[in-house]
């Protein structure tokens, strides 16, 4: 009578694996509890708790526990002291009474599900949309990770796109396919974001307009994505993870599209400075890349930076922040923060109009705050010296600033600050570049670079490193575009080094950590501006700060 359903299974077992005399179901159950904490009751009444390691499946069913300890003392003598942890405990079949494993899912789903959660995170980068997470918790987690990865991806794509041009299209198509799978909401969001872009673009014809629109779009998209994700999480649960992956992807696409569109307008406008156009591209890239790369944290950071410019951005910042922290509750505090930053930024805005003054640029820098800038700056320094002059020549107004220019572009792009500056009518194309001036100014006097770098690196922490990575790419590209012949040789070596850093940073960066850093980073940078006017004094102050591991490398490069 018994076991007839599995009679065939047992036969199969015996034929296929003659070594095992146990039924397949028992072996399966055994496998299901491997690596899980179990209570083992033995003959004398003792209970050992440990991690199920393995079992003997030959004739006798003995088991092995890892990290076991005696949780209930039996009546017979035992050489195991209470509370002592036994690295490996073998319980022979003769002593075994019962193995109890709590909360087990006795099916492949259980194991697969649990593991899937873990795997997903690792794998996501490769195939984000396909993974299903069974557990809500994990889904959120993996979800975050996915974001990261996707963003990184996006950054990479962006880079590729700029460098190669073709890449972005492909990625877009893929994304689109996924989108179709996605909810219609996704499309709606996409549309809305595009609208926002158009509006912004319409209002501001120039690059500034474009930049802003990008920033806005970015924000909007992220917002939307977050909303979607939230809704998805609530409603779908496991499926949400896949959706999030998709949604994330989208932003990247949009960006590419935006980027291209933006670039075109600039060229069409036929601004006097062709070099500027090139610069603009890098700038555009940077903001997008930064957003993508930094994931939630980054997005929030960007939003804050962009806030000065657009009212909307503040909202987006909030949304992004909330999402990063996981859902709604955090929003209020976040919003407050953003508002604070916003206040700070306004000041920046005011300053920004006066491009001529190096100081004005500084405010923007603080907003940027994110660490990413630092690495760029270091790189920038060598380049700037050679390049600055040339570019500046094109711009009549800026002759004094030339050196500054180059570095700034990189920086501004990453921050999205550039957008804010642009918003002010005066700057136009130049606005983004003007900011760079400040940095350069700092760098030039310092040359050492390291001092400056440190502050940023500290503030940024891990999350920022990830950002930095992206930036560095941007810088490289920007440098390539901008730099005449002489500049490049210097840049190339730097570029090579950065990519490595980026990889590490990206992997290390934790989304959760990022949000707090933002605030801190934002504030610190602000402090810096004051220093900026007086170049030398600020540096010493910065030096005291401990330098992260990565800094040492930078310093070496700089020196």
């Amino acid at each position: 009578m018994g076991c007839r359903n599995r009679e065939f299974l047992n036969e199969d077992t015996s034929s296929s694996s003659s070594s095992s005399s146990l039924s397949e179901a028992l072996i399966f159950a055994t496998l299901c509890i491997i690596g899980l904490p179990v209570d083992v009751h033995v003959k004398d009444g003792s209970i050992y708790t440990g991690i199920f390691h393995t079992a003997c499946v030959e004739e006798e069913y003995g088991i092995v526990l890892k990290s076991a300890r005696l949780s209930k003392k039996g009546k017979s003598y035992s050489n195991v002291a209470n509370g002592m942890v036994i690295d490996t405990l073998v319980i022979l079949s003769g002593d075994l009474v019962q193995v109890v494993a709590n909360g087990i899912q006795l099916s492949a789903d259980g194991v697969a599900g649990n593991l899937a959660g873990d795997d997903t995170e690792a794998v996501v980068g490769i195939v984000p949309s396909e993974h299903l997470v069974s557990e809500a918790k994990k889904s959120t987690k993996s979800f975050i990770h996915k974001k990261k990865i996707n963003q990184t991806r996006g950054a990479v794509q962006a880079e590729n796109g700029f460098s190669h041009g073709f890449m972005p299209k492909i990625s877009e198509r893929k994304h689109e396919e996924r989108k179709s799978h996605m909810n219609q909401i996704g499309h709606a969001d996409g549309i809305s974001s595009t609208k926002a872009e158009e509006d912004s673009g319409a209002s501001d014809e120039r690059q500034a307009g474009n930049d802003q629109s990008q920033g806005e779009k970015f924000i909007y998209k992220e917002k939307i994505d977050f909303d979607r994700e939230e809704s998805a999480d609530e409603v779908q649960g496991s499926t949400s993870s896949s959706d999030t992956g998709l949604t994330q992807v989208k932003p990247v696409e949009d960006r590419h599209a935006k980027m291209t569109s933006q670039l075109l307008p600039n060229e069409a406008s036929g601004d006097p400075a062709t070099p500027l156009v090139k610069l603009d591209k890098p700038c555009c890239e940077r903001p997008s890349s930064a957003d993508t790369s930094s994931s939630d944290a980054v997005s929030s950071g960007l939003s804050t930076s962009s806030n000065p410019m657009v009212d909307v951005t503040s909202e987006s910042g909030v949304s992004s922040l909330t999402t990063s922290t996981e859902m709604v509750p955090p929003q209020n505090p976040e919003s407050n923060r953003s508002s604070k930053e916003f206040k700070l930024n306004p000041g920046a805005k005011i300053f920004s109009p006066s491009l001529v003054n190096p100081i004005s640029a500084t405010p923007a820098v603080p907003t940027v705050a994110s660490m990413t800038y630092v690495p760029n700056n270091s790189h920038m320094v060598p380049v700037a010296a050679s390049q600055q002059e040339i570019e500046y020549s094109t711009y009549a107004a800026r002759p004094s600033v030339p050196v500054k220019y180059v570095p700034y572009n990189n920086l501004t792009a990453g921050n999205g600050v550039s957008g804010s500056q642009f918003s002010q009518p005066i700057v136009g194309h130049m606005g983004s570049r003007t900011q760079p001036l400040r940095y350069t100014g700092q760098y030039n006097p310092v040359q050492a670079g390291p001092a400056y770098m440190h502050p940023n690196s500290q503030a940024v922490m891990v999350g920022r490193l990830g950002q930095l990575v992206y930036v560095s790419h941007d810088l490289v590209q920007g440098a390539a575009a901008i730099s005449p012949v002489s500049a490049r040789p210097l840049l190339t070596p730097h570029q090579v080094q950065f990519p490595k850093h980026q990889g590490n940073a990206a992997s290390q960066a934790l989304p959760l950590y990022v949000p707090p850093p933002f605030i801190a980073s934002g504030q610190q940078p602000f402090a810096v501006p004051s220093h900026i006017p007086t170049f030398q004094p600020p540096f010493p102050a910065n030096r005291p700060i401990p330098v992260p591991g990565s800094n040492s490398l930078y310093n070496a490069k700089l020196s």
Binding site: M1, G2, C3, R4, N5, R6, L9, S21, L22, S23, E24, A25, L26, F28, A29, T30, L31, C32, I33, I34, G35, L36, P37, H41, G45, G50, I51, F52, H53, E59, E60, Y61, K66, S67, A81, G83, M84, V85, S93, L96, V97, Q98, V99, V100, A101, N102, G103, I104, Q105, L106, S107, A108, D109, G110, V111, A112, N114, L115, D118, D119
Partner: protein
């Protein structure tokens, strides 16, 4: 249909999926569904709880330790053969992480110390890096706090570190006291 058995002579006669109420010779008592019975090892694989859910308690029970059981009814085969595929590497990964976690937790538990000492250790660990050296709490790798874990029993380390540990210890002891009194 109830078959009250004072013996476990024929558990294999029950079909897979049947529901049993079991008393073991060690005094455990539970209701469970039979997943399988393995004759060679004389082991019953049971899952507790009657309602289907993703998380169940699994018991592997030697049949000869069943003191008493009651047949409660028939049920479906709880195992879906199509889903019986496991990834060994993921199992290993799960085990590794579990062991790692267990080890880190085990390191936090003092051997042969009072619960008060353990509480102090846990409290200190919130603010300072601590580890056990037998019954001595080692803080920041240099300051040693030995039984009875009073500020006076702090020794070693730089004066600054020593003072710091004393301060924290004093503070944590007061907090523990207040908490104990409050509750």
């Amino acid at each position: 249909m109830a078959m009250d058995g004072s013996s476990n002579n024929n558990p294999e006669e029950f079909p897979v999926g049947c529901l049993l109420s079991i008393k073991t010779s060690l005094g455990d008592e539970f209701d469970a569904q039979l997943i399988t019975f393995d004759r060679h090892s004389n082991i019953l694989v049971l899952q507790e709880g009657s309602k289907p859910g993703p998380r169940r308690n699994i018991r592997l029970l030697k049949a000869n330790y069943i003191k008493e059981f009651t047949f409660l009814g028939h049920g479906e085969d709880p195992l879906d053969i199509k889903k019986c595929q496991l990834d060994l590497t993921s199992l290993q990964a799960r085990e590794e992480s579990a062991i790692r976690q267990a080890e880190t937790e085990a390191e936090r538990i003092g051997v042969g110390v009072t619960s008060e000492a353990q509480n102090i250790f846990d409290a200190l660990s919130k603010t300072l890096p601590v580890r056990w050296d037998k019954t001595v709490i080692v803080v920041m790798k240099e300051v040693r706090v030995s039984s009875p874990y009073l500020p006076e029993s702090v020794s070693g380390g730089t004066p600054a570190a020593n003072d710091r540990v004393k301060k924290v210890l004093d503070f944590e002891r007061k907090r523990l006291q207040n908490r104990g009194g409050g509750q």
